[in-house]
Symmetry: C2
Subunit: 254 residues, 2 copies
Amino acid sequence: MGTTQLETVPEPKYWHLKTVLREALDADFAVGEILPNERDLAARFGVARATLRQALEQLELEGRLQRRRGVGTTVAPPRVGVDVSTTRGEWPGAAQDAWRPVDCDLTGVPAEVATLLETEVGEEVHTVRRIRISHGQSVAAERLYVPASSVPELSAIDAPSGPARARGVLRELQHLGLDGQDRAVELGSAGADDARELDRLPGAPVLVVTTRYVAGGRTAAVSVATYRADTCRLTFGASGDLEIGENPQERQAS
Amino acid sequence: MGTTQLETVPEPKYWHLKTVLREALDADFAVGEILPNERDLAARFGVARATLRQALEQLELEGRLQRRRGVGTTVAPPRVGVDVSTTRGEWPGAAQDAWRPVDCDLTGVPAEVATLLETEVGEEVHTVRRIRISHGQSVAAERLYVPASSVPELSAIDAPSGPARARGVLRELQHLGLDGQDRAVELGSAGADDARELDRLPGAPVLVVTTRYVAGGRTAAVSVATYRADTCRLTFGASGDLEIGENPQERQAS
DNA sequence: GAGTGGTCTAGACCACACG
DNA sequence: GTGTGGTCTAGACCACTCA
């Protein structure tokens, strides 16, 4: 007899769990509602806790769940759209953008951005730290690297560090002519300090937006912004926020 | 005696492992080189295999490693920049873009895109499947949803499905005036079929690029493209590919 | 068939939040 | 203190690739 077996690809348990949970989320849970704890859920589905966690992890990655240690697992609201479209030829820090300056210091250029900035090793850069708040929570942390040579007029009157200094650097940038900018988006994981500012654990997935600002034929500044990948949807294009609707990030076809 | 303890926050083992491995990758390994297998590595570091795997998983997420079942773990090349900038007012499928039509069918509008398309439930849409090849590997899979009403002239002469049909739909689109487009990027996980076309396992992290094409005051088409998050860096802006350099996705600060 | 990564288990302990 | 999610262990078996 033909061991037909058709295509009984043994679907992993966690994969099936994901599907079941997703349907349950759509049908039986409201945004913000807390789920049963992991031990209960695992028992209910007859799997080990680790397996259940694998399903929860992916659902969190897809922005459907939010888990917080010591608290529990809650149903996440739809991702917020944050506009990252290139606003004509504007420097960061121009007329009330969504960012709040946090700190600033002057150090040697870090290796990761040295090539981007086209600087010599050892050249000094101002590092401006900013936070982006949206809908009441911080959604992104940014490091803006500005070579000291880009803002030679920076007054020594400003504080040597802190938010005031940051605003000083941003102010000086506005005086430069901006020729253009490049931008790239990729997946990364939050470092220890970014994680703290984004209220996530280290290693949390983030969307890294790298922007290179060109002025006077050279790279005058580089911004590296890390957005919470679980809660954010980056929007581009003229219409910006809320134009594109709900999460289409998973189209199951098992 | 003061139990100073200073700030001995017990850093998780996998986190420390990540750091060690990353440094080893930078120093001792060439791109494409294969690492020792997971059991050996775990033994070498004196941790359980699951812990070692947690570190490898994150390094893969950051694009530093590539793991393939039955083969091994290799050092990944730097991410490729793929240009996703909005080319003026062009429809998909215009003069040799990077996409290869794969298939096409006509079905009722799926729920996930119904609201985006502003269609009634039950309205018929052409679903064009395309693949994007870059540097010899498929980097993205796309579904382009075109309401039948957007391309009324579509000839019945074309094949009812398959690549030829896909090209037919794309051809018809070119005749429409394009008013504008919205775009959004978010993190997702690959469904079973996307995973197959991208040569990844289901659940692999992807960057989902959703584009809404507006023509004649309404949404004439919607594209949902999933890019391999491990190997791709999405680039925008005039200068496109290769303008922005190496992976700055992790700035450790432990 | 041998070796690889992928899945799964049944425990244990830890860090954190909250009452 | 109690309960939550986060980390970790030491196994086991499975699916896949390749010689």
